[in-house]
Subunit: 416 residues, 2 copies
Amino acid sequence: MTGAQGFFSSRWVQRPDHVAELEPAGLPTGFRAAGVACGIKDSGARDLALLVSDSPDTSSAARFTRSGTLAAPVLLTIDRANVQGLRVIVVNSGNANAATGLPGLEHAAEMQSLAAAAAGAPQDRAAVASTGVVGVPLPIAAVRAGIEAARSELRPDGNVDFAEAIRSTDAFAKHARLEVALPGGTVHLTAQAKGAGMISPDFATLLCFVQSDAALSPQTCDLLLRVTVKRSFERVTVDGQLSPSDTVILQCSGRSGVRVEPETEDELRFGEALDVLLRQLALMVIRDGEGARRVGRVLARGGDPQAVERVARAVANSQLVKTALYGGDPNWGRIAQAVGMAMPGTAPLAFEIAIEGVQVCERGAYVPHAAEALKAAVNRPEVEYEIGLPGEGAETEVYFSDLGHEYVTINADYTT
Amino acid sequence: MTGAQGFFSSRWVQRPDHVAELEPAGLPTGFRAAGVACGIKDSGARDLALLVSDSPDTSSAARFTRSGTLAAPVLLTIDRANVQGLRVIVVNSGNANAATGLPGLEHAAEMQSLAAAAAGAPQDRAAVASTGVVGVPLPIAAVRAGIEAARSELRPDGNVDFAEAIRSTDAFAKHARLEVALPGGTVHLTAQAKGAGMISPDFATLLCFVQSDAALSPQTCDLLLRVTVKRSFERVTVDGQLSPSDTVILQCSGRSGVRVEPETEDELRFGEALDVLLRQLALMVIRDGEGARRVGRVLARGGDPQAVERVARAVANSQLVKTALYGGDPNWGRIAQAVGMAMPGTAPLAFEIAIEGVQVCERGAYVPHAAEALKAAVNRPEVEYEIGLPGEGAETEVYFSDLGHEYVTINADYTT
């Protein structure tokens, strides 16, 4: 994930030729970042992250969770930040500052104010994010000290520390650094993401911050982020749960001098790079889905787009399918069961199932197949399930992590 | 579960004074049953169950899963049985005969035909049910031999063997025998149920067979079964999954000579007895929810019935809430998260949470509470969560099992 050749590790994401992977440390021109330990986490690990663009012309776009129980930093950022021109991002891990009422909102506002001051930026150019346990008051004194410490550590290669500091139950840090050759010149993209629970296809359901030295209008930022989030973080699920904290932000400093104008080849190529970046990060998030050892992909096709979507998500969120994936068990009857649950009242339904290209079910019924080949196929790190519903024209995919003992261990013991 | 005093074991089900528990063995007058081993299960455990009413006037009612991938026996029973006058029930465990196509339908039809013949009843008076693995052809030769063997074992006290033979991953058999004092006379109720996975509140999601010697019209059977299933099996979830096989059948032989007429005190009392019987069986199913060690009850209240229902199910089906219940962890932030997921776009939402009577969240925010008392409360076998949404007038409940290592072990290894 952090090695030079290691980032594009999934067969489901193809790196385009104009995108090259670089050594991880180093932000695009105009950005500095830091990640420090301020004592929120009992472990003493880094838990306060600060990222700053020194360019007053920085453009940005943001996407947030749709939860009805939004965390204070999300409420604050939506209400009081200029999400088209964010220069500063402050994040703490170890505490989500969610379900914390008015004191929580005051703490989020103070984080925004201190972070903006640390960067010398107006208050509304700072976004706030928190991740960790829900429903526990934020230890604001630690956060204050953390922002102060991070300010003095801000460095052009602080992205790796930043990625470390936003982790909660993540088993590994998720970040990347890419060089993108556009017709108009070379630009860079860096990103830092964290999972690992409360991940569902309803939205990005994680924290992800992306920086570039390309020059984009806020409208172009928003368009590209919207489209690429829809194809990445909105297509993954760990546990079908929606977090109150999910936030994705794209910032463009413009310092490369390369402008990305709407409806140009530059925009297309930049969008492709952002797309593979977010898709690979999304896959890393579910690969790290609280103890996951295998990742599945459901590819559903049929004539009714809503049915296709419902079926894909029902399969990806099925505890029975997820435990079978964990066990390397080719038990496709559970997929048939999930399809049936998503299609009430349609029996007898003429559906098809193939696993790793092995057809196991046609017109709703078992077909003879090579059981040994199938068994071997489902024991690989990535397993693909194709589901055919009646009709044609609609297709969707959902990526999901398995459900195993490590998930139970992590979540039975991750306490308030 | 089977002892004389052991059946009504939950604080959430109160046995009415006119209902008494009897020693388990013994069917109501008019019924005989058997459960034998025919070799479908590799373990050699009982896997073929047969139940017969000797009364030609037997009335009945049935409820089935709404899955779009109905198992062959469900399709067959809906299509070709007279569900108002079922006299015979044949069940095999170890194989669901689901996603088995035309051969599966032919096997189900043969089961119906053989069972009806074994009982000397017309073919359409027999219902067929199968439970076990999905998508594997039914070993029909074993089933044929099993029906023949069961026929010669039919006994008035065969209900315990019957309950044994319908088990799949159930850790214990679930059955009861009750005496019910009605104004018109004394009647009896027996029932046999099985879980334990693919259990969701969308429907009964299990097999449950109920017998009585009371005399009810098919219409009264249907009314009472509909109402009591709605309050029992439709309010429980193990894993949020809907099985293609779920079937609940009530049969009344009339042999007690006590008639239960519509809108009488007899009907009310009989309904109360059926209600506590099914509610306690539903709780036993989730108590045995593939390794469950604790059972939760979500009680949701508010002004919008749909929102109340959505929230209750979101909490009960949340992997995060279920693992916290397993861990005896009072992490109520996960409940707040599930509430938010069920109420997108409503933030900030003024919701309340109490766990075992301890208020932890008011108007969407943390309130100070006795952490030690709460920690002790969530370590008991039954844990109650109360959720208040804005408004008044609507209320619902959902019972759920926890999610632990045993669930993973059972489901990662339960293979085709």
